[in-house]
């Protein structure tokens, strides 16, 4: 394989993927212990997508995410400490404990928010794309959404609007085969979600979402097209999630060894590491160093989150309005 990314970029990508993975594995463990409240949807297994996509974006570009948003946040540069604290509902959380897992946002790094509403994000990135277009700043806006969300009317409308308004927008459908317990092969009425691009006058492409390089390449093209005034693109990443729909899901809608098989044979990080070690100068020591670093980061974030204070009565009614 010919790799046109620098070693530094590749190590960054590895660090991001690993950070997401460790973050999610830790949240899974801590949730099981009972420390984390609410509905939590983990991104583990899908790291190549968020990472391969977001490496093509600038900090000033925007993404909108969904309920399964931790990976998108990390890849777009949201601080891990704040995220973990947010998931615990603590005061030092990214959203001061008011949002939780499903509502992490940080506009300062171009993260427009996870979203509790399936299909909530695509309309919003049309707006962020419009801002970029009106300001002529070369910015791009990108929406992550799932196979389930690909059936939501808001998503279809956004595809149409993005083409009609010639917006610098990219749509990334992360097809992990399920919307909750429902199979995408059943709920999506065409073979590939990317087929739908045609009905919306934009290029559509399906890539193997376990393959960082494939994701990166497809996004690179799409982002360049968008930046150059070429309008929107629909990218479908076919991938798998390691955990249930949400924490607590017993996953009995999945075949017995499905997850085991995925973890063994379709782990995007294993695959990426293998390529790095075989096709580049990167060594196992390089990766091990990052692994350690990431481990410390997550340990630290978790410890801090657990130790942090909960918000209190004085916080209940702040930030409803800027001024009322």
């Amino acid at each position: 394989m010919s790799i046109d990314l620098s070693v530094e970029d590749l190590l960054d990508a590895y660090r991001t993927m690993k950070t997401i993975r460790e973050f999610e594995e830790r949240v899974h463990v801590e949730f099981a212990k009972g420390g984390i409240p609410g509905f939590v949807h983990l991104y583990a297994g899908e790291e190549a997508s968020a990472t391969g996509v977001c490496m093509n974006l600038r900090e000033t570009d925007y993404i909108a995410s969904n309920h399964r948003g931790h990976g998108h946040c990390i890849a777009k540069g949201v601080e891990v400490d704040g995220m973990m604290a947010e998931i615990y509902g603590k005061r030092s959380g990214t959203c001061h404990g008011k949002g939780g897992s499903m509502h992490i946002a940080d506009l300062d790094v171009g993260m427009m928010g996870a979203n509790g509403i399936v299909g909530g994000g695509p309309p919003l990135v049309c707006g962020a794309g419009l801002t970029a277009k009106m300001k002529g700043n070369g910015g791009v806006a990108l929406a992550f959404f799932g196979d389930g969300a690909s059936n939501q009317g808001t998503t279809f409308e956004s595809l149409n609007l993005a083409t009609v308004w010639k917006l610098p927008v990219v749509f990334v459908a992360e097809n992990n085969g399920y919307a909750e317990a429902t199979a995408a092969s059943w709920s999506v009425s065409c073979e590939d979600i990317s087929t739908r691009a045609q009905g919306f006058g934009m290029p559509g492409v399906t890539v193997d979402g376990h393959d960082f390089f494939a994701v990166h390449k497809a996004t690179k093209e799409a982002v360049e097209r968008a930046r150059n005034g070429g309008g929107p693109t629909l990218i479908e990443c076919k991938l798998d999630r390691f955990f249930g729909h949400f924490e607590g899901d017993n996953q009995n809608y999945r075949a017995k060894d499905e997850v085991k098989d995925i973890r063994e044979n379709k782990d995007c990080i294993k695959r990426f590491s293998k390529t790095l070690l075989s096709d580049t100068a990167i060594t196992t020591d390089d990766l091990a160093a990052i692994d350690k670093e990431v481990q410390a980061l997550i340990d630290n974030a978790t410890a801090k989150a657990i130790a942090d204070q909960e918000p209190g009565a004085a916080d209940l009614l702040t930030d409803v309005y800027i001024k009322y």
Binding site: F39, G97, N151, G153, T182, A183, S187, Y253, E258, D315
Partner: protein, 335 residues
């Protein structure tokens, strides 16, 4: 024969009995079966919190999963209702009404009137509402006020397993569109529920507790909170009458007015945001038609005018608590 079962099971039983009774009763929603098209078990979920579990085994294709397309899903239920079926459609969380509301208030609710009586739309929309699950701003809302505002819709809010079963059977047999609001924090609540089928008529409030000093009108889960408050207040010698309207539309004005006539004092407990809400609705009813009975200003105990916070600490402050209800009752009792 009554046994103790949960609110959740009571709902499941109502669906089961009505599906058995009437072939035109069908159930649809996202993952109400669960596992459709997937590699594992069918009926894997039976609803995101398991409320419809087991119906697939009994009724097969009469219960069906849906893509995440609430407008089409709800619209299909409405269209099926207008053409001869009795669909029970699950809108998973009431918070999602924003992606399908048109089919409810502009279509289902208005057909009969706009069409000069030429349509009947016996659809039931079951939906989960309410805070307490640390589910944050987009999965914890009440929003039943919005449905109550709309002429043509009936709105039901059971506060016990008994009511849940009887009101749901009534809803399914009703020939108007009904929004059936289930509080997710009540699913585990147990209570006596007859095995046989029975209905509870709409528009008949339930006097959950009799009392003479203060009337508390409470809705849905707030009936439980009010009960706790009333028990505490009884020890202080304040006797509360708790009225549970059970349906917000139609609304049993008479029972509320009669109770206030006896007590002269009214506290309303409504979990929803306070503006243009059931709390204001009931206040205004009494301010207009029960004015001469009132011996004290009406008090409302509601959530604040803010979204629902995620943090458990904040959410507990957000939800009307027995302590807040007690304070409000004391205020009017000592006025």
């Amino acid at each position: 024969m009554a046994r103790r079962i949960t609110y959740q099971l009571a709902i499941n039983e109502a669906l089961d009995q009505e599906m058995a009774r009437d072939e035109t009763v069908i159930v649809m929603g996202e993952d109400v079966v669960g596992g459709t098209g997937a590699s594992g078990e069918m009926d894997a979920w039976g609803g995101v919190l398991g409320v419809t579990k087991g119906l697939y085994a009994k009724y097969g294709d009469r219960i069906m999963d849906s893509p995440i397309s609430e407008s089409a899903l709800v619209g299909a239920a409405v269209g099926a209702a207008a053409t001869g079926m009795r669909p029970v459609c699950e809108l998973m969380f009431i918070d999602f009404l924003g992606v399908c509301f048109d089919q409810i208030y502009n279509q289902a609710a208005k057909f009969r009137y706009m069409f000069g009586g030429k349509a009947e739309t016996p659809v039931v929309i079951r939906t989960m509402y309410g805070a307490g699950f640390r589910a944050a701003a987009q999965h914890s809302q009440c929003l039943y006020n919005i449905f109550t505002h709309v002429p043509g819709l009936k709105v039901v809010m059971p506060s016990s397993p008994y009511d849940a079963k009887g009101l749901l059977i009534q809803a399914i047999r009703d020939n108007d569109p009904v929004i059936f609001c289930e509080h997710k924090a009540l699913y585990a609540m147990e209570g006596d529920v007859p095995e046989e089928s029975y209905t509870i008529p709409f528009g008949e409030a339930n006097i959950v507790r009799e009392g003479s000093d203060v009337t508390i009108v409470a809705l849905g889960r707030m009936v439980i909170q009010a009960g706790k408050a009333a028990a505490a207040l009884a020890k202080e010698g304040i006797s509360c009458e708790i009225v549970d309207p059970r349906t917000t539309s139609p609304f049993d004005e008479d029972t509320v007015l009669e109770s206030v006539e006896n007590t002269g004092r009214l506290v309303i407990v409504d979990e929803s945001n306070p503006r243009c809400s059931m709390a204001t609705d009931i206040s205004s009813l009494v301010a207009q038609k029960g004015f001469s009975s009132l011996k004290a200003p009406i008090q409302m105990v509601t959530a604040p005018h803010s979204p629902v916070p995620f943090s458990g600490a904040l959410e507990d402050l957000y939800i009307p608590s027995p302590a807040k209800i007690e304070a409000a009752v004391r205020l009017v009792a000592n006025y």
